[in-house]
């Protein structure tokens, strides 16, 4: 409340006034359901994730190997020329620790999110995913990480077919 105004006119509305019907209200919940066509490029990408593989598309003009794949090179504005598998390992380009959920409530376990430049893809191209099996204090730029896939029977052709990426060094004894 502004310091200059000590008392606003009228009575303050309390949430109980709404809950108990003392003031008129209208409620309406939007019914908006979408089913986006994945298309040629992302359709293939998701099919490959189901097989625990990551696929890129390539541009013969600029030579880029692009993940996620697309049917056009946005820099050259020409159709892509082919498909190429990239590795499920990469390095951390940047990362953050999300302590809050989308509704701004504090998460019990923070989510570790990272941009991962994938091995075999062109520089600065890769995937955004979560990190796991790592202490948040120990995440570093350039850290080598590897995808941890869900078991075959649980993979459905989704970005979440990869559970998370974990540091490579921790798996070698």
């Amino acid at each position: 409340m502004s310091e200059k105004i000590k008392n606003y006119r009228g009575e303050a509305l309390k949430s109980a006034d709404i809950k108990e019907g003392r003031v008129p209200t209208e409620k309406c919940r939007p019914k908006a359901k979408f089913a986006w066509s994945a298309g040629i490029a992302i359709g293939r990408f998701l099919e490959e994730l189901k097989k625990a593989k990551i696929i890129a598309s390539t541009c013969s003009k600029c030579g880029r190997i692009m993940v996620p794949p697309r049917i056009y090179c946005e820099n050259c504005f020409k159709p892509t020329d082919g498909w190429k598998y990239v590795k499920d390992t990469g390095t951390i380009n940047t990362y953050s620790v999300s302590y809050l959920a989308a509704d701004a409530t504090r998460l019990k376990e923070p989510i570790l999110v990272a941009i991962i430049d994938l091995d075999g893809a062109s520089e600065g191209m890769g995937i955004i995913h979560k990190l796991g099996e790592v202490d948040k204090e120990k995440i570093e730029f350039g850290m080598k990480v590897r995808a941890v896939w869900k078991p075959k029977e649980e993979r459905v052709g989704s970005i979440t077919d990869i559970k998370y990426f974990k540091p490579v060094k921790e798996e070698t004894p």
Partner: protein, 384 residues
Amino acid sequence: MSEVAIVGVGCVGFQPILPELSYKELMYEAAVKAYDDAGVDPRKDIDVFVTCAEDYLEGFSIFDEFVPDQLGAVLRHLFTVSGDGLLGLANAYMLIKTGHFDTVVLEAHSKASDLLTLMDVIAFALDPVLNRPLGGHPYYVAGMEMNRYLHDTCTTVEQCAQVVVKNKKNACGNPYAAYGANITLDQVLCSDMCFYPLKKLEISTPADGCVVMVLASEKVAEKLTDKPVWVKGVGWCTETPNLETRDWSKAVDTRLAAEMAYKTAKIHNPRKEIDLAEVNDLFAYKELQHMEALKLCAYGEAGKLTEEGVTARNGELPVNPSGGLLGMGYGLEASGTEKLLEVVLQLRGEAGRRQVSNVEVGLAHAWRGIPTTTGIAAVLSNVK
């Protein structure tokens, strides 16, 4: 001030559904065709990109951000108009008129099939306190408007049905049309009553598709093509959103939009000076009501003219030779560019078996659908 021309067009669709392409791929395919038609490289030759989309129809917040890649507009100058494609045309036109820009790309698309609850989203455009609690399908608004329009003008249900017969037949000759058909007046009149007096076959069905166009200033246009289509004038207008107080008989927003466009285009007698018109026919009666608002005929006269065949493709004033939205499909925010595409093809003499002979001036018109009162009109010509 430089004149403004459309120098390239590209279209993919319209189809009932285009499940094989994502919206990005759909836009890319249409853009490739438009740039090829214009002979331009979007990475070097285009000053500004204007796209038209409404977030709620796309299912993305801030949809603007999802459009540069597929148009060749990465790290270029781009903005999105939250409105019909013809409003995008108005923006593109004004950009070139400022003298600061020579080439502008216009894009509008529909991926209506991605939206599983289209009518619920349209219902969400109704006032949440005064209208929505009453329930029902939002197209009852069209039923009320048609009823009042027929009552006031003595237009008959047969005359409205004739619009459907004409447009669906025209669409048979249009490779960009999703719903061409040879049907009879009786089939329309006997189709299900949906929103009295509006019947099922009088309602346009949604379709997927994309239209991309390249616009250029006079000096660039004349270098690029020997078939420029000049934008002679654009106008737009919105009446009140209140269902309770709007004009239910005349499309007054379209009337004022047309007057704005005609003023710039120096059109004094639209009926005589316009050779073909592509007008919004989301519902059959709307074609008639819009013809009157666009001054193509007197108030209450459009039904009679349609019955007499004046608005047929080979009539004295062809209206919707493309097949209209009834024949091509309702392309959401691309609806206006469906109209614009046909006018451009007709004025270039490239409309194939639906070509209207001796055309010099064409009119493209859009209405933003239920429950809006926004009309947009554009006058185009193949003569500078």
